[in-house]
Amino acid sequence: MEKKQTPLSYLSFSAFAWVVGLLIFFPIFWMVLTSFKTELEAVSIPPSFISFDWTLENYAEVQERSNYFKFAMNSVILAVGSTLVGLVFAVTCAWAMAFNPTKRTKDALLWMLSTKMMPPVGVLVPIYLVFRDWGLLDTRFGLIMVLFLMNLPIMVWMLYTYFKEIPTDILEAARMDGATLPKEIIFVLLPMALPGIASTMLLNVILAWNEAFWTLNLTTSDAAPLTAFIASYSSPEGLFWAKLSAASTLAVAPILVIGWFSQKQLVRGLTFGAVK
């Protein structure tokens, strides 16, 4: 399908592609735009695109009225916390599976994957009851554990596929050079796998940040992250569109940035290495 492109067909195709792209992006654009409007303008018909009084008051009010930062803080703690706990478990596990495989390594990997296939509703009831009985409901610790466990298979898999790409020779060379196991991991494996580890962490942060089954079901207020905060706008009295948009923009922005950075690695992480 690669025909020689004339400048004209290049430009017209580009224009067409941009129209399609902008249409897909439109809801996000509209959300951001609405966040700068007054509540009145947000619901005005016909909608105003540029000619309105740009205001930042929604952002200020979101914080004042609903303590936005508490929720944002929870989101950060849950995402970062579950990622760091996950990393400790996943790096060791993936290292072992990639470089010291046994006959059962493949089965173990696929079993881990299969736990990810389990619909959360299948275990909602017991997890809820256990959380209730152990006083873990609405605690950050409890949710960090849930998010960590939920994403652990993905982390192990992603790191496994990255580690697999590191030639065993190099680790063996380090061994011949007299490096002990910890030194081998710290001086040779980790520096080489750094890009892979970084993108694994980013993906995990994204997944944890956007997780909206457990965070909605296991929290009420103290540990509630932004997913729950935004969900509270679904009630009728919360129908302040401009404020909703401002809160949403704040909730989405950091992840959008991270996501854009890690889009390539995302494919590998979400397809368990089946598409590269």
Binding site: D169, I170, E172, A173, A174, R175, M176, D177, G178
Partner: protein
């Protein structure tokens, strides 16, 4: 100092006997080449000596001490890998210095040794570069440099030249041989290329299916192969094996004649044949011929030879250079010596 002795070394993966039991004596300062077709266990044997694999059974003695259960680093060996296995995130200097750092050497000692190795290997100008910015030959030298600085009891080379192009390979071959003459350290070198084996080795170990087929000096293997496998593996182009009337003439199951030991004539000879393809290299001519009785044969004649496809020729084996084999492929004594 590095004399290495393998005693009944065995390696099994699951139920598979990769090395069914090898005894081998490597003297201090010797250049030993393990050669054999791919999958013959030569690399596994090297990795067993290095300690990268556990032996299933047997002893590996370095200077008389059994190291079979020691960690690789404790064996005082260094290894050059096929892929070079350089640390991509370290400079050339740090690549070479890594082993010394791990051994806790002082900065001055490290500097001295690395610079010294770099001088020997012509790497002085590249010490600040990363491996990614080096050519194949330079990477190879860094890998060798990394091995040299540790002052090992022996060097282990795992097919180190197979990733280089043909011209560079000849160069590096000479460099490694030169290095051996300079350092006089024991070297064990694994390759599937019999030319490398013939040109570099003091002693060649021919392996097949984990078994040692023959151990000896290059020319001994060439002129007195112990069996059909060695006879066919050493020498290029491959030896011709002839049964039928030729074998009967020498009173054995089969005879072997190297392509360079066939006399070509257009008028008369023992084996009539038709030229299929003639490859003219100037200094020599390779003839791929077909004989009615023996099928395809290869002839290597010196100088130019005005032959081409479909020419009829006659071949005669040089009587004192033929090899006799019994039905099991084992070499029989030479008829003239017997």
């Amino acid at each position: 100092m590095g004399a290495i002795r393998l005693e009944k070394v065995k390696k099994t993966f699951g139920t598979l006997d990769v090395i069914p039991g090898v005894d081998l004596e490597i003297n201090d300062g010797e250049f030993v080449v393990f050669v054999g077709p791919s999958g013959c266990g030569k690399s596994t044997l090297l990795r067993l000596i290095a300690g990268l694999e556990d032996v299933t059974d047997g002893k590996i003695k370095i200077n008389g001490v059994d190291v079979a259960n020691e960690a690789p680093a404790k064996r005082g060996l260094s290894m050059v890998f096929q892929s070079y296995a350089l640390y991509p995130h370290m400079t050339v200097f740090n690549n070479i210095a890594f082993g010394l750092k791990m051994a806790g050497e002082s900065k001055d000692v490290i500097n001295d040794k690395v610079n010294n190795a770099a001088k020997i290997l012509n790497l002085t100008d590249y010490l600040d570069r990363r491996p990614g910015a080096l050519s194949g030959g330079q990477r190879q030298r860094v890998a060798i440099g990394r091995a040299i600085v540790r002052n090992p009891a022996a060097f282990l080379f795992d097919e180190p030249l197979s990733n280089l192009d043909a011209a560079l390979r000849v160069n590096m071959r000479l460099e490694i041989t030169g290095l051996h003459q300079e350092l006089k350290t024991t070297m064990i070198y694994v390759t599937h290329d019999q030319v490398e084996a013939m040109t570099m080795a003091d002693k060649i170990v021919v392996l097949q299916a984990g078994r040692v087929e023959q151990v000896g000096k290059p020319m001994d293997l060439y002129s007195k192969p112990a069996n059909k496998f060695v006879a066919g593996f050493i020498g290029s182009p491959k030896m011709n094996f002839l049964g039928g009337t030729q074998a009967a003439k020498y009173d054995c199951h089969e005879i072997g004649v190297r392509p360079e030991h066939l006399v070509v004539s257009t008028e008369q000879g023992e084996i009539p044949a038709t030229v299929k393809i003639a490859e003219h290299l100037g200094a020599e001519t390779y003839l791929h011929v077909n004989s009615d009785e023996f099928g395809p044969m290869t002839v290597r004649a010196t100088g130019e030879m005005p032959l081409s496809g479909n020419d009829k020729i006659f071949l005669t084996p040089e009587q004192d250079r033929i090899h006799r084999f019994d039905a099991n492929g084992l070499a029989l004594g030479h008829p003239l010596n017997a």
